[in-house]
């Protein structure tokens, strides 16, 4: 088994600032020896995976569609669920803990699913103010929290 699996969630389209933040999160996950799991598409997912790949990390993308070629080019292992948004439940079930960067409704569903099953979620630049999410100011703080969670759920 590789290192802890850390989820990065955020929308498929995002601002340049969120992209930079997501990439920093990906870099940090790789440098701390984690495996990055995300939805495998664009925006925050792509930026985070790119950061991780640039620093030797391993990246997993849980795709909504039927075809692994849908994944962004920074995904090592693309999983084609063909289950649409129900794939969000698989991301949160698999991740030890999750970092949310900005994000839209898809991200909100992942946050809610994660909190429902007791996973820790930290948020950077959150779009939503959800009770139970740990809001942090820096990537380093975010990573300190998510790497300090128990493996299984």
């Amino acid at each position: 088994m590789h290192g802890p699996i850390i989820g990065v969630i955020g929308s498929g389209w995002c601002s340049r600032e969120s992209e930079d933040l997501a990439r920093q999160v990906g870099i940090g996950i790789a440098l701390r020896g984690g495996v990055l799991i995300c939805g495998g598409l664009d925006g925050v997912m792509r930026a985070a995976a790119r950061g991780a790949k640039e620093h030797g990390g391993l990246t997993v993308g849980i795709l909504p569609g039927p075809d692994i070629t849908e994944a962004n080019p920074f995904i090592d292992i693309a999983i084609a669920t063909n289950m649409g948004q129900a794939r969000n439940a698989i991301i949160v079930q698999t991740a030890q803990a999750l970092v949310a960067v900005a994000g839209g409704y898809g991200t909100l569903s992942e946050i809610a699913l994660a909190l429902k099953i007791g996973k820790t979620v930290v948020a950077l630049r959150p779009e939503f103010d959800i009770n139970g999410v740990r809001r942090v100011e820096t990537v380093s703080e975010a990573l300190d929290v998510v790497f300090d969670q128990p493996i299984a759920g």
Copy 2:
């Protein structure tokens, strides 16, 4: 095909006030000829299904577990998904529109999944303030909105 399928979402444990509200929603769905779909368990789901059944409605419960006997006694058609919280995606995919009554993280995930795929959600006594959800004050207003949506999605 029966009438429009209306989702009722809310948590498995709720206050007496939310229960009364959910029951009124169920009654209204039945009286307007709709089919009620919900998560099939307790709290808001049970109260809404009860209201619908007491007025001749048809009720569907999309269960998280493997066994249809898990459904509350007011569910006519229990669907055993054995998919845990991923079943939330099926409820919102199937419903024409959804009424949220109070609700916790599970409900929040349903709201987010619904908005993600473009379904209308109205909320009574919402626990969360989510942009895109139509907040209404009365059951009658809620039903006016959800019955006035296009069938498919």
Copy 3:
């Protein structure tokens, strides 16, 4: 809760003989007070649902796609899973027991999933010879077996 939920599985395109057989199965399920569950599409699924509806039965279609309007016109309750062939697992999980009529690979997957979780499958005119499937010669025999199974699984 309505009567026992009986699954009818078979392919989306079938011969006239299989269609007649499926319709007889649907009629029998309705007359014995069962609820018919199937994949909601054409061929065997449509013929069985038609038979059930013509005799006052209730029919449920678990669809692979995102849209309930995909269901055949004899489905009362269409569930839009948007999960492709993974929806087959929901059909077998929900049904008390299943009748297979002819059938291709999709049906074979349902037979296998059903046997895996311990559900009874009877087959009329089977395309495959699978150990564990009860092969019967008449619709009446098939119904005797499936109605005589325990409800939950």
Copy 4:
């Protein structure tokens, strides 16, 4: 993206001969630069993953349960679907092609789901004789076929 993702399917309990065969398949996948995907549990899944890991391969396990610690120790990336047997659809959707080694009903469901969506399946020591499965005699033949398939589906 790593090399082609090759599925290995077979039951969670198997004979010593099937275990040896599965391990050879895993070794071959690793040596040819493929990523092994399987159900992540015991028997054929464990033996194949072990073979791959012993030769520097990368292994992915798509688990039926909610917890990644359920995976056998030779799985690098464990995905916790919490979807029971519906996870079989994800394995076949993700794999470029699949090698079946012996196998029970779960394996049969994967074979059927794979053929349903047009994926190539080769079988070593098959328990079932399914039209459409390519029966081969040696591990080398099996690998020649599965590595020679188009990536996406």
